[in-house]
């Protein structure tokens, strides 16, 4: 009798381990069920495990006393959201990788055989290598441009906005309350061949200069790489500007004044005080801009030509038009892994804690 009480106490004291373990087990069960990794009687075994797991935690919470309840509480709060993500974020990634290594039974079949078909990956690289290159190149240029435009703008708002700070910040965000697609379509009309911008440039003779700089092609602005990169820059600018603004806003103006008191010039004060303190914002902004830009296909579709397609266009086309799920999945998997690698390298080099 006492032995049992002791054991119960031990479980109650380690309720946090039990709670975490139960959450992980439940997540694994859901991933297994979602990806249909098992079939037949095994399914009922997994379902039973899942139910026992959830019931077990409930029993522990009701009978374990206040201390166990306190230890279990965070896991109880986390569980609904975490299980949702396990089933609809983790399981899909698993099934994506699985399909990327499968082949279709026949051309018109809807069934796939998992047979380690690595040829999907070689096909993805050989047929769509240039799309990969363009995606990363365009996204990188667009990211640099968003820093070039976003940083000064954020700086002016944060340090010179005064009492209009909030209004200016609101002005910056307002354009992005219109739909993403409508904005991009609007740009395609603005940059159109007979549109205002192209005519104005030719009128002042800038057309030839831009032609020489490869910004324009044959007197066109729409359907050039410039337009695609411009669209990416425009659409992802707030993702750069807002984190930079947040980090600039936190800077104590007295630090800048102190630098001035110590005979530092304005540029030097900026370089040695403001810039280092705003790096976390630039860091977060770079991730928030580069990642969606590299996977985007809307800008390339509305503002580009067939020679400016990015990997997003290819994935979309192979997946939804050609119904070639294996190759499309292989491309998506490569995109995911390369971005994860880049992010990891980037965090190692510029590593900051406050990513989120």
């Amino acid at each position: 009798m006492t032995a049992m009480v002791v054991r119960q106490n031990r479980i109650a004291r380690n309720a946090d381990r039990v709670g975490l373990g139960a959450m992980i087990v439940a997540s694994i069960c859901l991933v297994v069920l979602g990806t249909r990794l098992v079939s037949g009687p095994m399914v009922s075994v997994i379902v039973l495990t899942l139910i026992l797991d959830l019931v077990g935690v409930l029993v522990l919470a009701t009978r374990g006393g206040p201390e166990a309840r306190r230890l279990l509480a965070p896991y109880g709060l986390l569980k609904p959201g975490m299980l949702w993500l396990a089933l609809f974020f983790l399981a899909p990634v698993w099934s994506l990788i699985r399909i990327s290594l499968s082949t279709k039974e026949s051309r018109f079949s809807v069934n796939y055989d998992f047979n380690w078909a690595f040829q999907n990956y070689t096909k993805a690289f050989s047929d769509f290598g240039s799309q990969f290159q363009r995606a990363f190149l365009y996204a990188a240029i667009a990211t640099v441009l968003t820093i070039a435009i976003g940083y000064p703008l954020a700086y002016v708002i944060a340090f010179r906005g005064g009492k209009y700070k909030n209004i200016l910040l609101g002005l910056v965000v307002i354009p992005f309350f219109t739909s993403y697609l409508i904005r991009t379509i609007a740009w395609s009309t603005i940059l159109a061949d007979r549109g205002f911008v192209v005519r104005a440039m030719n009128a002042v003779g800038l057309g030839n200069v831009f032609e020489w700089l490869n910004i324009m092609e044959n007197g066109k602005l729409l359907n050039t790489p410039t337009a695609v990169i411009g669209g990416l820059t425009y659409n992802f600018l707030p993702f750069m500007l807002l984190p930079i603004y947040v980090s600039l806003e936190k800077i104590d103006v007295n630090l800048v004044n102190a630098a001035g008191d110590l005979y530092s010039s304005a540029t030097r004060a900026f370089r040695k005080v403001v810039l280092p303190l705003s790096i976390p914002g630039v860091f977060a902004g770079t991730l928030l801009t580069f990642i969606p830009a590299a996977g985007d296909f809307v800008n390339a579709q509305f503002l580009g030509n067939p020679n400016t397609t990015m990997i997003g266009n290819s994935i979309q086309d192979q997946f939804l038009k050609q119904n070639n799920y294996p190759v499309a999945s292989a491309m998506a998997a490569v995109l995911m892994v390369s971005i994860a690698t880049l992010v990891l390298m980037y965090t190692r080099i510029f590593g900051t804690e406050d990513l989120a």
Partner: protein, 280 residues
Amino acid sequence: MMRKRTKYGRYALNVFAGFGLVYLFAPIFFIVAFSFNKPKGNFNIAWQSFTFDNWLHPFAEESLTRALWKSIEIAAVSTLISTILGSLIAVALSRYKFRGSGGINLFLVLPLTTPEIVLGSSLATLFLGQNFIDFGMTTIIIAHVMFQVSFVALTVRARIRGFDWTLEQAAQDLGATPLRTFMKVTFPLILPGILAAGLLAFALSIDDFIITFFNSGPVQTFPLQIYGASRVRIPPQINVLASMILFLSVAILMTGTIAGMRKSAEKQATAKKFKLLHRK
């Protein structure tokens, strides 16, 4: 000489920022202006003549209106679910210190660092493998909740970071039950953060295109309808509806800012009073 140069530098930066704002607003001016255009043919892209017709009949394009309502419906349901799930996660992360919180923080950021096209296509492969679920409203809502949860959790967590959890203990010391403590103390205090996150989630859902594109099946949301129609025709009603959404969001934003300003002014006033009291 030195002085002068910095002064010019100052102006240059301000002018640059001004150009930045013009750049940001260029397509918006265009969208709003062309909502008053009377287009010839199917594409509302060349200026013809001024008219109020489009604003008098904003819902004339039936398929567009239907798609907009569908988007609002989807956004409402998915926001409700994701706000509940995400807020629970945020409360757990900021209220308790527990085993595994580091891993959970990392896991929450993962959906945000995955390109939308990967999220959309991978979720579609999951649904393709199931024969008891059809692409449609359900799959769109599932997809939206999936990417909203992380946004909500991180936003709410940032908003309640400085929250004083000992208030809960105080309430319980004064004899409140846990439920009453939550309803009377905790919930009202974290509600602004939850509302802000909910607004963000709603905006994300209503404007989402890429993930929805992969998981929509026959259902047409507002962005999907525009995408499908853009090759055949661009009616001016698109501009009217877009302008309406814009003005509505600006109104919401402004009321929020004004309320915030008033609150901080009140706070300052009370602080002043308090100081005066103590000086006496």
